[in-house]
């Protein structure tokens, strides 16, 4: 067994937005191949954390390591092309077909058109959409749930080992949201990526996570599997944040 390099590591990271430190001497290790959800009340620094991984936000001090490499030494454009990224508002390009949307990162990387047709087909099948039916459609012709599936497929297109998701399902209706959550779990059993998933939806966080990281005011309150958190909440805050009724349900 080789030495496992953590997918992402934060070392003594401090981030300041001018109104005080959002994060201070923050340490965190995200293991590879798992779905890790980051939850916490708004303003707790969860999105900041996520965006520091692909250098959309730079820390004031400390270092962020992706697969052992310090991100500040890497070209941000190259780094981002090698990390999947899914955002809340979906962010599909309205003037591009589904196929063009999915293949955008490989195209940025200069891959050949011929390989991309095949790749798009595989990805559409992977997310459960018929390639013949969908490849040449435009985003506005799809439902919200379908659009966000495309968003996920697009993040997978260049086969990154890490995918960042910033509240990707929060704009969807409850039914599609639950369905996409299930699909994401199944999908990751197949593709085995490190998924860093930011959400403020506690149900979602507990449901899809292998590991949950609970943040408050820039500090980690508790990390562990969803079962860990429910069995042994570290503090009253955890109990309160997760909701008392959840503990009752769990103990039954």
């Amino acid at each position: 067994m080789g030495v496992d390099v953590a997918a992402v590591q934060f070392k003594q990271v401090t981030k300041n937005y001018g109104s005080g430190n959002v994060l201070e001497n923050f340490d965190l290790t995200i293991p590879s191949g798992q779905i890790v959800t980051i939850i916490g009340p708004s303003g707790c620094g969860k999105t900041t954390l996520l965006k520091m991984i692909n250098r959309l936000i730079e820390p004031e001090s400390g270092s962020v390591l992706v697969e052992g490499q310090e991100v500040s030494t890497l070209n941000p454009v190259e780094l981002r092309r090698n990390i999947g990224y899914v955002i809340q508002q979906i962010g599909l390009f309205p003037h591009m077909t589904i196929e063009q949307n999915i293949s955008i990162v490989p195209r940025l990387k200069g891959e050949k058109k011929k390989d991309l047709v095949q790749r798009t087909e595989e990805l559409l099948q992977l997310i459960g959409l018929d390639p013949q039916q969908f490849r040449s459609r435009y985003p506005h012709e799809l439902s919200g749930g379908q659009q966000q599936r495309i968003g996920v497929a697009r993040a997978l297109a260049s086969n990154p080992s890490i995918i960042l998701m910033d509240e990707p399902f929060s704009a969807l209706d409850p039914i599609s949201r639950v369905q996409l959550q299930k699909e994401l779990i199944k999908l990751n059993e197949k593709v085995q990526k490190t998924i860093v998933f930011v959400t403020h939806d506690i149900d979602e966080a507990l449901k899809i996570a292998d590991q949950v990281i609970l943040l408050k005011d820039g500090f980690i309150i508790q990390t562990g599997t969803p079962a860990n958190l429910l069995e042994a909440p570290a503090s009253d805050f955890v109990r309160e944040f997760l909701g008392a009724e959840r503990f009752e349900q769990y103990s039954i």
């Binding site: 959309l56 780094l79 508002q89 962010g91 309205p94 077909t97 990162v105 940025l108 435009y138």
Partner: protein, 216 residues
């Protein structure tokens, strides 16, 4: 009516020549205005603080009466085609500048964030995302300017820049309605044809995915 046809036949070669001059004046002015205003509009979206000042300054030009603007050119550049083109270009700047600024600035921020997060460079975001999405707004500005410039180029005759205005002013001087029409009708026709051409071009260039999008 007979008189109209006879005059028209006699004047036909001259009408064609003046129309050529007219198209030349308008086309060059609109092209130069595009070359200046589109890049400026794009740059301004990155410097929002100075954008208002720049756009207000440019819009001041629009308040100068067109006849006077042509007149102002004379002390600096004399008469002829060159000062006329400069005056027309100055007039054409604002609509293109404003539409470019609004169009590029109006592209959904989420798309830019998605693009950046996926590893697009600034240029790639501009070429692959912002310009295609803003294009029909920019084109609307260009269309407006084309129409405006063609009609305004009529006044260029007062600083001896030629064009169909020559025929109209001669008609006015001779109090001859037929001659005035020989100048005026081609101007109107030019405006209509150019407008339709640009509309068609825009429709042709707009990707299917955006036709719906822009309507919403």
């Amino acid at each position: 009516m007979d008189q109209f046809w006879n005059t028209l036949q006699a004047d036909w070669p001259m009408i064609l020549q003046k129309m050529g001059e007219h198209i030349n004046l308008s086309l060059i002015s609109v092209l130069i205005a595009c070359l200046i205003a589109v890049p400026t509009g794009i740059i301004l979206t990155a410097y929002k603080r100075v954008a208002n000042t720049v756009i207000t300054t440019v819009s001041v030009i629009q308040t100068i009466p067109s006849l006077a603007l042509f007149g102002f050119m004379i002390p600096f550049l004399g008469i002829g085609t060159k000062p006329a083109i400069i005056a027309l270009t100055l007039y054409a700047l604002l609509p293109i500048l404003q539409n470019t600024y609004v169009g590029i600035g109006g592209v959904n921020q989420a798309l830019i964030e998605a693009g950046t997060g996926m590893g697009m460079t600034r240029w790639q975001i501009l070429w692959m995302v912002q310009l295609p999405i803003a294009r029909s707004v920019i084109m609307a500005g260009v269309r407006l300017v084309a129409v405006q410039t063609i009609s305004m180029a009529t006044i260029a005759t007062y600083i001896a820049a030629g064009g169909l205005g020559d025929i109209i002013t001669r008609g006015i001087a001779m109090i001859n309605t037929v001659t005035i029409m020989e100048g005026a009708i081609p101007v109107s026709l030019l405006v209509i044809v150019v407008n339709l051409l640009l509309l068609g071009l825009n429709k042709l260039l707009t990707p299917k995915g955006l036709r719906q999008y822009t309507r919403n």
